[in-house]
């Protein structure tokens, strides 16, 4: 009894903590368009490598830029890139998954699922390497690389859930009513997957932020002048002995953003779909 209570309390706490962290992330990103404590691009060599103070809450970097302001501005890059990547991946992956489920015995299903297996063999970083090779580094290439890697995730999740919806009685009723496979997929199957896709989308968003930071760290993601947490860390790595505080805050920001979205996803899953709430799994 007490065990179940602890777990349940933990779960609803996940929704709250995740929601608050995500709200802070989105809030910081939006606010940075209107206001940051300092201009995040303003270089001031005399003020470089300062430790956190009342003037500069997170200190300044090797160009004297205000780290707190840069982190606020970096939130919008992270969020925008991850949203775009997950959006593209959903727009491609979900229809593929629906199609595979609608013709689960056919060649189409086989091709789609084999194609997915193949994409899984290309980790996002290698896709980014290939795209950068073609088009040079940049935010758009990072979006594309993360999106491509996420397509199979959405295709699989959609297919798996759609297959079980197809076995339900009301689908049979729709078929008897003479609706085609594609119309049933769009009108009856897809709406039943909405909750699942919201949850999966939230979790993939967190992975997208993590991936974007990594790509930017190695120089394959967001390029200057776009503010970026990953690039801040790359700068910090070279300044480690001189200004260790430069490495602390961008990493904390990434961790908090990813943690927040993950917890939100977990919390939403339990809240939206009690059927998925298998005790403590």
């Amino acid at each position: 009894m007490s065990a179940a209570v602890t777990r349940k309390g933990f779960r609803s706490r996940a929704l709250w903590i995740g929601g608050v962290l995500t709200a802070v992330l989105v809030g910081a990103a939006l606010l940075s368009y209107l206001w940051t404590p300092h201009d995040f691009e303003a270089i001031s060599i005399p003020a470089r490598n300062q430790l956190p103070s009342g003037e500069h809450w997170f200190g300044t970097d090797h160009y004297g830029r205000d780290i707190f302001s840069m982190i606020m501005a970096g939130a919008r890059t992270s969020l925008a890139l991850a949203l775009a990547a997950v959006g593209i991946a959903m727009a491609v992956g979900v229809p593929l998954g629906l199609a595979a489920a609608a013709r689960s015995d056919g060649l189409l299903d086989e091709i789609i699922m084999r194609g997915n297996d193949l994409i899984f063999a290309f980790p996002a970083l290698l896709v980014a390497v290939l795209i950068t090779n073609i088009a040079g580094p940049g935010a758009f290439n990072a979006i594309l690389a993360i999106a491509i890697f996420n397509i199979p995730v959405f295709a699989r999740v959609t297919r798996g859930a759609a297959l079980s919806v197809w076995t339900l009685d009301f689908i049979m009723a729709a078929r008897v009513a003479g609706k085609g496979r594609w119309r049933i997929s769009a009108e009856h199957v897809l709406p039943n997957l909405a909750n699942l896709l919201i949850v999966q989308g939230t979790i993939q968003l967190s992975l997208g932020i993590l991936a974007e930071a990594g790509l930017s760290y190695v120089g394959l993601g967001a390029q200057p002048p776009l503010p970026s947490w990953g690039r801040m860390l790359a700068d910090a790595r070279t300044m480690l002995t001189v200004a260790p505080h430069m490495a602390l805050f961008p990493g904390l920001a990434i961790t908090a953003a990813v943690l927040g979205l993950n917890l939100l996803g977990d919390g939403l899953r339990d809240w939206l779909d009690p059927k998925l709430r298998r005790e403590g799994r």
């Binding site: 970083l125 090779n133 394959l220 993950n262």
Partner: protein, 315 residues
């Protein structure tokens, strides 16, 4: 089993073939003329012509593709344009950093995750379980390269236990070389360990709910005996699959970690080659990495099917 293995082998071959075509198109065809791309904007026409000759660009793309693949089958990966050394040799040398790093990280992640997963499942719902669950949430959220930087700050800059980066080479002595891989391997391993701990926990919980567990308890085994003799081994099957999958993530994740610790591995080679526009190196190293991922997954599938005959029917 043989039939299953054969089917999987064909699908492995097809995957490799398609992957090689994708890589070839992405690297050699899309950027336009590779020779002028590699030499940059200010190249002299006769230098470009010379490089075209050297790269064999005067023949059709299909012939080039075939000779690239045929070369790789024979162990010839071409010659690097910037380093002027055979790519196969570079891959062999850099692989001596990347592969041990990935294996080391895998070892650490497994060594952390399996005991923690068992503890969490065994004390399900208690404070220990909730605490571990919270820890894994953090483990998943922390970017491994930031963890690496923080460890450099603590163990190299402050405590000076480890060097802040670089690799002395295996010829400098096994333990010295291994020591320089400790921090990178831990950084790579922690997020993977967090994921694996969760999977170990839920897999063990699933198994504990099975009928044969009740039978085991009914015949008089204690809770712990039943856990170790029956549940643990069965729960390990899905965990092994994930370990296999993680190996491929570790190979790719190594690219960033090698950059953090200035390790001369395959990942750093790829990044340097992109900057130097050394297309042949990019192409071949990406192919080798993708090859590794596909082959590891194939091996895991086979091992899985060997253990669990039910899976052989689903191909």
């Amino acid at each position: 089993m043989l039939r299953y293995a054969l089917k999987r082998l064909i699908s492995l071959a097809v995957s490799l073939l398609v992957a090689s075509v994708i890589i070839f198109i992405a690297v050699e065809i899309v950027p336009g003329d590779p020779a002028s791309y590699m030499l940059g904007l200010n190249a002299q026409p006769d230098t470009v012509a010379q490089l075209r000759e050297e790269l064999g660009l005067n023949v059709s793309p299909v012939e080039r593709y075939v000779s690239w693949v045929w070369g790789m089958v024979q162990g010839d990966f071409g010659t690097s344009y910037t380093y002027r050394t055979p790519v196969a040799e570079m891959i062999w040398q850099r692989g001596q950093v990347s592969l041990p790093l990935a294996l080391f990280a895998l070892l650490i992640s497994t060594a952390i995750a399996i005991p923690l997963g068992v503890i969490a499942a065994g004390r399900r719902g208690t404070g220990v379980d909730v605490g571990l669950s919270t820890a894994t949430q953090f483990g998943i959220a922390v970017p491994n390269f930031w963890l690496g930087i923080m460890m450099v700050l603590l163990f190299s800059v402050s405590l000076q236990w480890f060097s802040a980066g670089g690799f002395p080479g295996w010829q400098a002595g096994f333990w010295l070389a291994l020591k320089s891989l400790v921090l990178p391997a831990i950084a790579l391993a922690v997020p993977q360990a967090a994921i694996l701990t969760r999977i170990m926990r839920s897999s063990l919980l699933d198994t504990l709910g099975e009928d044969f567990m009740r039978t085991a308890r009914a015949k008089g085994l204690s809770r712990n005996q039943a856990l170790w003799r029956h549940a643990f081994r069965n729960a390990l099957i899905p965990v092994l699959t994930i370990i296999g999958l993680q190996f491929s993530f570790l190979i790719a994740g190594g690219i960033i970690i090698e950059q953090v610790f200035y390790l001369p591995g395959l990942g750093r080679l790829v990044l340097q080659s992109i900057n130097a526009r050394d297309l042949i190196v990019v192409e071949s190293v990406v192919m080798v990495l993708v090859f590794a991922v596909i082959v590891v997954n194939f091996a895991v599938d086979l091992a899985y099917a060997a253990v669990d005959p039910r899976l052989r029917r689903r191909v």
